[in-house]
């Protein structure tokens, strides 16, 4: 696909005989683009450098340069006092479970709404899409009360289930796009081979939906990796706390020592950035798929 586009581009260039001359306009454009790149990246750069400095450097001696002494002890402090590694595991566990639940529920619902024939499936789809506009914070107390009745508070489930529900709409939206692209002839062929609806779902549709897994997974991952409010209210035990809550608490404890705060912030950010470096295209595609296919 991309090569095709490139060929076309080349053709356009060839046909117009244009060779992109270096004009004042294009230089200005470039400066503009570079400027915004700088604005996007600078706060993060600053965070990474001050996570390795002491207060004297941060407060004036060496504000924006690379650290002079590379104080990795800041990271040690953040890890030891903040119990960050535990929160890290928790966040991973929560995100992983949420992704699985969202995938199962979204695949099944999308199948019912795109492949099965019934009145009101369009309505049902619209109903699920309402979830995209509901503000998550508006439901804190009612969800709390429901969870309490079920005695689910302070368990992993207390955040996994709400996270799954709030990511579900986007999951269905994305799956819809992918599933509609699967030719309906396949269903019919499988049916003639003796498959029921369940057989078709598991043997025909699900294997073809693998590209959607990555897209939904990435989107859901970011939703629950970063959420603060629910994690804060529904979870009490330190053993179950997730990363954002841990970071928030740690920042409260180190108000005046900036190094360890920077370290904690970096610890929460670096993994996502690492994944992003390797999967940037995939991640971007998942966000595009979510919005554009709607």
């Amino acid at each position: 696909m991309t090569t095709l586009l490139m060929n076309r581009n080349a053709k356009i260039k060839a046909s117009t005989g244009e060779k992109r001359p270096v004009t004042v306009g294009s230089v200005l454009t470039y400066i503009g683009l570079l400027f915004w790149a700088f604005v996007s990246i600078f706060p993060v750069y600053w965070m990474l450098t001050f996570s390795l400095k002491n207060n004297a450097e941060i407060y004036g001696e060496n504000v924006i340069g690379l650290p002079r002494y590379w104080l990795f002890s800041n990271y040690e402090n953040a890890m030891r006092v903040g119990n960050i590694s535990r929160y890290f595991v928790n966040s991973t566990l929560v995100a992983g479970s949420t992704i699985i639940i969202v995938l199962i529920a979204a695949f099944m619902a999308t199948y019912a709404m795109t492949r099965l024939v019934w009145k009101g499936r369009k309505m049902m789809n619209k109903f699920f899409m309402l979830g995209l506009t509901i503000p998550i914070h508006a439901s804190v107390v009612p969800i709390y009360i429901i969870l309490a009745r079920l005695q689910w508070l302070d368990t992993y489930g207390a955040i996994i289930i709400p996270y799954s529900a709030f990511s579900l709409s986007m999951g269905i939206l994305i799956c819809n796009g992918f599933m509609s692209d699967i030719p309906y002839d396949l269903d019919e062929a499988a049916f003639l081979d003796g498959c029921g609806v369940w057989g078709i779902f598991f043997r025909v549709i699900t294997p073809l939906m693998m590209p959607a897994v990555a897209t939904v997974g990435i989107y859901t991952f970011l939703q629950c990796w970063n959420e603060l409010m629910f994690a804060n209210v529904f979870i009490k035990s330190p053993e179950i706390r997730t990363l954002p809550v841990g970071i928030q608490a740690l920042c409260g404890q180190y108000t005046t020592e900036w190094g360890p705060i920077g370290a904690a912030l970096s610890i929460a950010t670096i993994p996502t950035l690492l994944v992003y470096v390797f999967l940037s295209k995939r991640i971007q595609d998942s966000f595009i798929a979510g919005a554009v296919k709607g």
Binding site: M47, F50, A105, F128, I145, L168, S169, L228
Partner: protein, 305 residues
């Protein structure tokens, strides 16, 4: 064959997990909130008395509650979002989408802030805005704006304290990180749109001698209108829903940068007025739906013309 595919039991079973989640976690709470919104419920476990629309009347009439101001703040944010963030994103997307050297690099860098947790962004910007040692003030002082920073604002206080309740720029200071973080998101959506414009359309326009501006205006922007609509909806409802960053930057007490969500959290957990907190929650949900609908109508209108 048709029969198998419309067998009611199967349909129900396939929908069941999603419906359970969706109704249990999203829909039922809305009805619970709506119910509590008509109650005078003091404290979570407190007695409930039916008071009809009294909470809603108070939301619209009470000045000490500050809902009007909070709503105004979030609408202002929506305005900035649509008026500054989206145009900036569009310009970046148009430039990138037509191919520049290092296109993918730029794209990845611009999008990066979207991936960072709001807690991290909030804490980071708290440090950036710190009156004494923050990088912003250190920068402004180094370029000779120290005197401006030390200027008095209002009765007392100086400009240096960006997030102070008396600083008229505090609201702007809260908006900057919010807008900053999501420029990349909108840029990415629009970029995908720009890339999807059929090349023969562009080719034809170029052969006709259209300038870049004309191509943008008459071909690309009309073509990506559905994406622009999505962006506007996300920007507006996102502004109405905004919470995390303002909560982290301004703290939990009443402040001039309040938005409906922070007000609601305070009503629920500090003033312990569950009825009122629920009423605000209902207002928020209604507003989000109303704006989404309105934007849909506005865009449809334009498409017809």
């Amino acid at each position: 064959m048709k029969k198998t595919f419309s067998y009611k039991m199967n349909i129900f079973l396939f929908l069941l997990p999603a419906l359970l989640l969706f109704i249990g976690v999203l829909i039922a709470p809305i009805f619970l909130s709506a119910y509590y919104g008509f109650m005078n419920k003091k404290g979570a476990g407190g007695a409930e008395t039916w008071i009809g629309f009294a909470n809603y009347t108070e939301i619209f009439t009470s000045t000490s509650l500050g809902f009007g101001k909070a709503l105004g703040n979030s609408l202002l944010l929506a305005l900035f979002s649509v008026g500054i963030q989206l145009p900036l994103a569009l310009v970046l997307a148009l430039k990138l989408g037509k191919g520049v050297r290092g296109e993918r690099g730029f794209l990845s860098v611009y999008f990066m802030p979207v991936l960072i947790s709001t807690v991290v962004i909030g804490q980071l910007w708290l440090k950036i805005y710190n009156p004494d040692y923050g990088i912003l003030n250190q920068f402004l002082r180094s370029i000779g704006l120290g005197d401006w920073l030390n200027q008095k604002i209002g009765v007392w206080g100086t400009r240096a304290a960006w997030l102070s309740k008396t600083n008229p720029l505090a609201l702007a200071a809260c908006f900057v990180p919010i807008l900053w973080q999501y420029v990349g998101y909108h840029m990415l959506l629009m970029y995908a749109g720009v890339k999807s414009v059929p090349k023969d359309l562009l080719e034809a326009a170029q052969l006709d001698g259209c300038t870049e501006g004309q191509v943008n205006r008459f071909i690309i922007i009309p073509y990506i209108k559905p994406i622009l609509k999505v962006s506007v909806i996300f920007a507006v409802t996102g502004s109405l829903k905004s919470f995390d960053l303002i909560y982290v930057l301004m703290g939990q007490d009443k402040n001039p940068c309040d938005v409906p969500s922070t007000l609601m959290i305070r009503m629920l957990f500090s003033a312990k007025r569950y009825g009122m907190g629920s009423a605000i929650a209902v207002m928020l949900i209604l507003l989000c739906f109303a704006f989404a609908l309105l934007i849909n109508i506005v865009f449809k209108d334009k498409e017809v013309r």
